[in-house]
């Protein structure tokens, strides 16, 4: 969207010119709004994190609880993102390459997690696996822990990030159709060969784009994991939960130092995302979420 607009910059059309006052109002209003609501909060994270200088900043980041939160965040994302990636490819293959009944229903079911509040997403797994939950009793008898432990964090994260890869791939694979794959098949390629040599090269950038967004959300999710984590320091805390704990202890510098890691992740995500949109605009799905 953003990628091709510059190339297609139209010659000046006089009828489309807004009055000078309107141009200024739109420019100042738009930029001012973004500065106030987007740039200022980002700047505040940096300033608050460095309030006591770089020494305090790095020593706060070296805190054992923060280190273990980093580990936890990476572990959860390392499990949830690949699984949702496999799901996304399978769903997009099925929906994009075949005609079958109930496709529209399946499409809307995949979107469901986007419209469920994060808190409710986490709560679902509490209802299933918590002590009072459906499987709570059975799990306790077998000494298995799901909520207030890593599996619960992973499940909640998987729920919240489930649509990202699928949503990116489905419109693209629907648009590409099955012609190329059918041709490869007719020429004697087996199913896996068709996927690796025909389908995957066609969707690789969209796949990366989806994984990027999925990962950003997986690492930054707060509401859902907050409900299932039990807030056990050094054990079930991810980075966003660590920010919460430090902030509530009025340990502002440490809270913002931890937050700055997540803000950095968000900025890197945006840069890579913008690069993909600019470089591979034609190979990404037309729809943005």
């Amino acid at each position: 969207m953003a990628g091709d607009s510059a190339a297609a910059a139209p010659p000046e059309r006089l009828a489309l010119r807004d009055p000078r006052w309107a141009r200024w109002a739109i420019f100042v209003g738009g930029i001012g709004f973004l500065a106030l609501f987007v740039v200022l909060p980002l700047a505040a994270v940096a300033v608050e994190a460095l309030r006591k200088g770089f020494g305090a900043y790095f020593s706060d980041l070296g805190d054992p609880d923060t280190i273990s939160a980093i580990h936890m965040t990476l572990t959860v994302a390392a499990i949830a993102v690949p699984l949702n990636c496999v799901f996304g490819v399978a769903a997009a293959w099925t929906i994009g390459k075949f005609a079958f009944r109930g496709k529209t229903l399946l499409l809307s079911l995949i979107d469901v997690p986007f419209s469920v509040s994060p808190v409710i997403s986490g709560m679902l797994f509490l209802l299933l696996f918590g002590l009072q939950g459906w499987f709570g009793h059975w799990l306790r008898e077998h000494h298995w822990k799901i909520v207030f432990a890593l599996p619960g964090l992973v499940l909640a994260t998987m729920f919240v990030t489930l649509p990202f890869v699928a949503r990116e791939l489905i419109p693209l694979m629907q648009e590409q159709g099955a012609d190329e794959e059918e041709a490869a098949r007719m020429l004697g390629a087996g199913g896996l060969r068709v996927f690796w040599s025909v389908t995957l090269p066609n969707i690789k950038w969209a796949l990366l784009y989806g994984v990027l967004l999925c990962n950003a959300r997986a690492m930054g999710e707060f509401g859902a994991v907050s409900v299932v984590s039990g807030h056990i320091r050094g054990l079930t805390n991810t980075l966003p939960l660590q920010v919460d704990i430090l902030y509530n202890e009025y340990n502002m510098v440490a809270a913002f130092a931890t937050a700055s890691l997540l803000a950095g992740l968000a900025l890197v995500t945006l840069v890579v995302k913008s690069f993909l949109e600019w470089r591979y605009a034609d190979q990404l799905a037309l729809t943005r979420r």
């Binding site: 489309l16 505040a44 099925t94 399946l106």
Partner: protein, 283 residues
């Protein structure tokens, strides 16, 4: 989708393999992660009969939380609709240095973890913060009061309207505006009578998406809200509180009610779009 004459078939025959495996895995995974957990919620809520469920929802604290959540979400979505249009206009119609950066920044609220946005906005808007201290001398409190909640929800919903209006504006044919101009309309009349009607459906979609997202938002709001029961307590927080009190039934009733509202809004928008002929679904 055309069914072959005669026997009922789930899918049209294809030379490609993997339909059964793909559909099977998709449904299995979806059931495990989404459908079974969601049905657990509905079953839990239905353990209470209608009268007791109503008593939960009608209690003053819960009612106040719903009113605050929906009001604040509506105000935030409205502000985002207006400024979303302004930003989309800026990005599509004007050429200026740094436009690409501005375009990328619009997505920051999607990328920035909500807890980070929450602590940062709270620090900015508090009485001693950069923004809060400007308003404090006039007795205006932003953080720990409803305006703070609205601000957090504006942040969270900011990209929706921009991203729904932007493509429509991009595809809008300039000839229509030129025709309006040759017929004597000035810029303002052209905007109101020609451009705005074409953008209105997209703005409505953006409004609904921002609103639905705001009603469920938790992370960015709880730090700035103050969380006083009946005054600045939002619905998702109330659910968390009920869960911490092990009142799973009460929490489920509130959750189902809030999901029902957000699903019906999204469904209404889908129907509306279909009627406006904008639905481009395939298959």
């Amino acid at each position: 989708m055309t069914a072959t004459a005669g026997a009922w078939r789930l899918h049209r025959w294809s030379v490609l393999p993997g339909f059964g495996l793909g559909l099977g895995f998709t449904l299995f995974y979806l059931s495990l992660i989404v459908l079974i957990p969601l049905s657990a919620l509905v079953l839990k809520a239905s353990e209470l009969d209608m009268a007791s469920a109503w008593r939960v929802l009608a209690s003053p604290r819960v009612f106040a939380a719903f009113r605050l959540t929906f009001l604040a979400s509506a105000v935030a979505a409205l502000v985002n609709s207006i400024f979303g249009l302004v930003i989309a206009w800026l990005l599509v119609r004007y050429r200026f240095w740094g436009r690409r950066i501005v375009d990328a920044l619009v997505d920051l609220p999607f990328a920035l973890p909500t807890a980070v946005a929450g602590v940062s906005l709270a620090a900015l808007m508090a009485g001693n913060g950069w923004v809060g201290s400007m308003f404090a001398p006039f007795g205006v409190q932003i953080a720990y009061a409803p305006p703070g909640i609205v601000i957090a929800l504006i942040f969270v919903g900011l990209p929706f309207v921009v991203r729904t209006v932007q493509p429509v504006l991009q595809d809008f044919e300039p000839e229509l505006e030129e025709a309006a101009a040759t017929l004597g309309a000035d810029r303002w009349v052209t905007f109101i009578r020609v451009i705005f009607p074409a953008l209105a459906p997209a703005m409505l979609t953006g409004f609904a998406l921002a609103f639905a997202r705001a009603t469920g938002e938790y992370g960015s709001v709880i730090f700035i809200a103050g969380n006083r029961p009946g005054l600045t307590e939002i619905v998702p927080l109330l659910i968390v509180i009920k869960l911490e009190e092990f009142d799973y039934r009460g929490a489920s009733v509130i959750a189902v009610a809030s999901l029902a509202v957000s699903f019906s809004i999204l469904m209404a928008i889908n129907l509306l779009q279909r009627r406006l002929g904008q639905h481009r679904g395939r298959g």
